[in-house]
């Protein structure tokens, strides 16, 4: 089975979808002539031309507004916001407009658009190339939000996103682009949106996580197993809608939960997961709901020691596992 990195899987999937459906058009900054700053669209303008691979002016609100307009007029636009840190000017077109079109037109107009958003830190990105921006999107009825962490999931979820009739935000952790390599079948497949996946089965506790943290959690679980802790790792994969059933099934079975996320904690994905566990697993809990997140400071400092202190790490996760297991 061929192996690919996350960015290779993303690139191949976009290419396959564009070949498959001529309504798929790409919009974004530097995606054409440059092939994208992460080379996600390397070679695309040569194959598909400048009418399907559109280098937009530097204007994020425009990018998402264009995508919205094209989507309600028969296209399946795939927009790229170059860095999640730059998505804020486009928030209105996404959260205020696109998410509400179907509801606000009683189903007459729908928005089959996808927005890819590279996010996350640990890359010496400082305050403006490191942010995690999932929360506002995950809070919004009408939006779908996915966060694949492996090449296999990146292909399957991106394909599902592009084929979805609703606006989908695809959060790709930029560190995973070249860091994570895995098996990706060559044939066409999709992964259903809204389904988490147990990436490592276990019985003593469940780690619920997503994005780059999945890989750190898996490493930590491996080390923890040598110390006698049998840790299950649940990869959320979709952040809206959250797979509440999978979360509840796993935590009810293991009795303890450690939520690991790179984002800051207040009003975050971990808060929502904790609420679900509290609502649905109360009588099966053998220990308090526990979170391991970044500290409450703006993500994230540029200087290396401070950046390392900000990010959750394998060691920090091992430590949290041991503490929770003892309780």
């Amino acid at each position: 089975m061929p192996e690919q990195t996350v960015i290779e899987a993303v690139r191949d999937t976009m290419r396959a979808e564009m070949r498959r459906d001529e309504r798929v058009i790409l919009l974004g900054e530097d995606i054409g002539l440059r092939g994208g700053v992460f080379l996600a669209t390397d070679g695309f303008i040569e194959e598909f031309g400048e009418d399907r691979v559109i280098d937009t002016p530097l204007a994020e609100s425009l990018i998402c507004g264009l995508a919205l307009g094209a989507a309600v007029n028969g296209m399946r636009p795939l927009a790229e916001i170059q860095f999640a840190d730059f998505v804020w000017p486009a928030i209105n077109q996404i959260v205020g407009e696109a998410a509400r079109v179907r509801y606000g037109t009683n189903g007459v107009k729908t928005v089959p658009m996808t927005i890819r958003v590279p996010y996350g830190g640990g890359v010496r990105g400082g305050l403006y190339h490191s942010q995690s921006t999932e929360v506002l999107f995950a809070h919004t009825p009408g939006l779908t939000v996915v966060a694949p962490a492996t090449p296999y999931d990146a292909k399957g979820l991106l394909a599902s996103a592009i084929r979805s009739d609703d606006p989908v935000i695809v959060l790709e952790h930029k560190r995973t682009y070249r860091l994570v390599k895995g098996e990706v079948p060559a044939e066409d497949y999709t992964i259903p949106i809204g389904r988490a996946e147990i990436k490592r089965p276990g019985s003593d506790m469940t780690i619920v996580t997503y994005g780059l943290m999945l890989h750190y959690a898996l490493q930590a679980a491996e080390t923890a197993s040598e110390q006698g802790f049998d840790v299950e790792v649940l990869d959320l994969r979709t952040l809206r809608p959250l797979d509440a059933d999978a979360i509840a099934e796993s935590v009810s079975r293991t009795g303890k939960v450690l939520i690991v996320q790179e984002d800051t904690p207040a009003v975050s994905i971990s808060s929502e997961v904790a609420a679900i566990v509290g609502e649905r697993c109360f009588f099966d809990l053998d220990g308090p709901i526990t979170r391991l997140t970044a500290p409450e400071i703006p993500p994230m400092p540029f200087s290396p020691i401070q950046e390392a202190a900000f990010m959750p790490s394998v060691e920090k996760i091992i430590d949290a596992i041991a503490k929770l297991a003892e309780l």
């Binding site: 609420a275 609502e279 649905r280 109360f282 009588f283 099966d284 809990l285």
Partner: protein, 437 residues
């Protein structure tokens, strides 16, 4: 036709308006919807439109008058027949609280009639004349344990450990009998030294601090009597045959099997068979349902040094007399020596108590919660008994033993109790010298 024009109701908290300016005069012809009069309510002024086309005939309120909503302000002759609408009842505005304490003052009160339109104006919404109760559920679905297992929430477990409360003996007041935090705290508080109003202790009285077992028994008794509606039924049994059989076979039996032979294994044999034939007696009330137990595990009350204990003979039905005798022997020995295991006391579905050993002839025993019934075997007493044979009555001396059933009246009726007792009686009276067990 003559038509009365009323001041229309425009909002729940607005009850009156001031007539500002009449825009039409008597004698003037008006079209439906033509503005008729300008009125002023609290902050907002509005134009009231003509409800129909016709000629205005009379003005009944003057400019500057304050008029309640719903009152007639003018009359007109309509061009066509118009259905006179019903006047809407005005609602009394809620009384405003007068600020008392400084906190209330800081909280403030609601301003009558104040309103804000969709984008900041003074729009007074009249679209809903009464509030529709289309409330949608606000809370999310939460977990409810529904597999019948007794579950203790995290805080209950903690408090029970902290206060030394035995959770198994607690009656839960939560949903489905769940033990709640309040239950544990209440149990912790009802320590022996804290019983108010139950009577005073004088210097001549002896206060005995109960052992943990005693305390548990006490709690258990309270629980049983407070939860289970007890009813009672008793019957006489002619055990002459059983007495004769034992007298004749005892020595041989005890020598051959090295196990004591009291009446207990025989009565247990009959009781077990009777339970098998009457499953409602072998049951338990749980979560509002009668649960008929599949196994027949009979607890046998034994006086142990610390108090009454009830070791259980598992699977009592279908065992032979010898097996029962052996099991009883072992379990009673362990009970009396204080060396019972957990297995010895688990899983009882019915309890048998030989109160007759101490001379009792009637007992109203307390059911061993959460079972549904308990049977006492009373003293065997020789009595004169009337026997009828072919129409002739005569009096002879027979060994008679009363058996008394206390039962859970939620599950078991008098008839069912009697049927069970009859079955035990029949089984016991069938024993005679020729019986081979």
């Amino acid at each position: 036709m003559a038509f009365k024009i009323e001041l229309p109701h425009v909002g729940e908290s607005v009850t009156e308006a001031v007539i500002g300016k009449w825009l039409k005069s008597p004698g003037e012809h008006v079209e439906k919807y033509d503005p008729l009069v300008e009125v002023i309510t609290d902050k907002v002024s509005m134009d009231i439109p003509a409800p129909a086309s016709g000629t205005l005939t009379k003005l009944l309120a003057a400019e500057g008058d304050t008029v309640p909503m719903g009152s007639v302000i003018a009359e007109m002759e309509t061009d066509e027949v118009v259905v006179q609408g019903e006047s809407e009842l005005s609602t009394t505005p809620p009384g405003a609280d007068s600020p008392g304490s400084s906190l209330a003052g800081r909280i403030g009160t609601l301003v009558q009639g104040a309103n804000v339109g969709p984008t900041g104006g003074e729009f007074l919404d009249t679209s809903l004349s009464s509030s529709t109760d289309d409330a949608l559920p606000a809370t999310a679905e939460v977990s409810r344990p529904n597999d019948g297992k007794q579950r203790f929430s995290p805080v209950v477990t903690r408090l029970a450990a902290q206060h030394g409360v035995d959770l198994g003996s607690l009656a839960g007041t939560g949903l489905g009998g769940r033990v709640t935090k309040k239950d544990v705290l209440a149990a912790a508080e009802s320590a022996p030294s804290a019983s108010p109003a139950a009577g005073s202790i004088s210097a001549e009285d002896q206060v005995i601090e109960p052992t943990p077992i005693r305390r548990m028994i006490a709690d258990h008794m309270v629980r049983s009597t407070s939860e289970i509606p007890h009813a009672w039924s008793a019957i006489e049994v002619d055990v002459t045959g059983m007495v004769e059989w034992r007298t004749a076979n005892r020595q041989r039996f005890e020598k051959a099997h090295n196990v004591r032979l009291t009446y207990l294994p025989i009565t247990l044999l009959c009781v077990a068979a009777a339970l098998k034939a009457n499953p409602r007696i072998n049951s338990s009330w749980l979560d509002g349902k009668a649960v008929l137990k599949g196994q027949i595990n009979v607890g046998v009350a034994v006086a142990a040094p610390e108090g009454l204990v009830v070791p259980v003979v598992q699977g009592a039905a279908g065992s032979t007399l010898l097996e029962l005798a052996r099991r009883l022997d072992g379990v009673v020995k362990r009970a009396r020596s204080g060396s019972m295991t957990l297995d010895d006391v688990r899983g009882g579905t019915f309890t048998l108590n030989n109160t007759g050993a101490l001379g009792s002839v009637w007992g109203g025993a307390i059911i061993n919660h959460p079972q549904a019934a308990i049977l006492t075997t009373e003293a065997i007493v020789k009595r004169p008994v009337v026997i009828s044979r072919e129409g002739d009555d005569s009096v002879i001396v027979r060994s008679m033993m009363n058996i008394c059933l206390s039962f859970d009246h939620r599950i078991i009726d008098g008839a069912e109790a009697s049927t069970f007792l009859q079955a035990v009686k029949t089984g016991l009276e069938a024993v005679d010298l020729d019986t081979e067990f």
